[in-house]
Symmetry: C2
């Protein structure tokens, strides 16, 4: 009588669809998603999948949101108990590089892939990807500024320049890992980042 069990099952199905959508999108891109393809992967009918979303764009947006949540969950533990500044910045960058080395997706970090795919296409999906990227960039900048204020970095440190290089090392690590399957990419990025994380 009460729809309790049915609601839980619906939620589980919804999550399974979004989970599969992230995996597919990490390889085929957010525009490579197809409702029929996901249905086939999950042993469902096309309408059964489509009924969980207003339209395909909502599915894409949910995949981006879920990927951001996975990233956040992967990074957050490393940040706990760390003081703002270099300590927290080092922990965040290390967790980030480890995430890029060993992503929870078959095609590498979904946000990196979506950023490259969507960078030329205006719209809500691009906006969501940019917002995700901005949040990480803001974290790096915030900790760099905290390090300057704490005297861990010289007062004339160019935080934006350091942030640019850290983001570049992440992009380069991702590219080397995905395109070249280079097992040393992570350590190369760490070595290049080290002088940026010191006073």
């Amino acid at each position: 009588m009460s729809p309790r069990r049915s609601v839980a099952a619906t939620r589980d199905t919804h999550r399974a669809i979004v989970r599969r959508a992230m995996d597919v999108a990490s390889v085929e891109g957010l525009d490579g998603l197809s409702i029929g393809g996901l249905a086939s992967d999950l042993g469902m009918s096309k309408a059964g999948v489509a009924g969980h979303f207003a339209n395909k764009q909502q599915l894409q947006l949910e995949a981006v949101d879920a990927a951001v949540e996975l990233f956040t969950a992967a990074i957050a533990p490393a940040l706990r108990e760390r003081a703002p500044g270099l300590d927290r910045l080092r922990a965040g960058v290390e967790a980030w590089f480890a995430y890029l080395e060993d992503t929870p997706f078959p095609g590498g970090c979904l946000i990196q892939a979506a950023a490259a795919e969507q960078d030329g296409r205006p719209g809500p999906v691009r906006d969501a990807v940019v917002a995700a990227d901005d949040r990480w960039r803001a974290f790096l900048l915030r900790e760099l500024h905290a390090a300057i204020e704490a005297g861990e970095l010289p007062a004339d440190t160019d935080a934006e320049q350091r942030c640019f290089v850290l983001l570049a090392l992440g992009a380069g690590l991702n590219q080397a890992a995905q395109l070249r399957a280079d097992p040393r990419a992570g350590d190369r990025a760490r070595r290049a980042a080290r002088p940026l994380l010191d006073g």
Copy 2:
């Protein structure tokens, strides 16, 4: 009688199709190309476009080849008369960054976009993109090693590490320019690259 004029016109049409395909692919990806879409853009019939290529994959491969040619043509003049080693490396990196800042495509460097798109999809298109990327990587490594042999860089310089960071700065510049439209990205990449191009 002689098909001379017809052959030339056919070649021009072929080039126009590939040129348009590069522009579209720089925004929509190589998998975002459609023969019907190109036909509409060029005021041709779908079969008129399709007849120039054995199949869609051949069109994708020709777009990659043409993009490599455009890149090579943009870089080559800067390398003329430059001695192997740091002088040639600096000229190449400067031309490369300038190319990434101001690409001949509406969606940014096609090779960078295709590398991110294709990195998880085995096949001839991915192979062509990787080969293009490898050629540029080989150039950087060759000049770094020439600089070491010429005594411009210490004998214990880690050429692969420097190459990794230069490639990362290119990826970061491309991302900042395309995703963020950051007008300072080029200069930030140049500043970060400077210590890597010196003894």
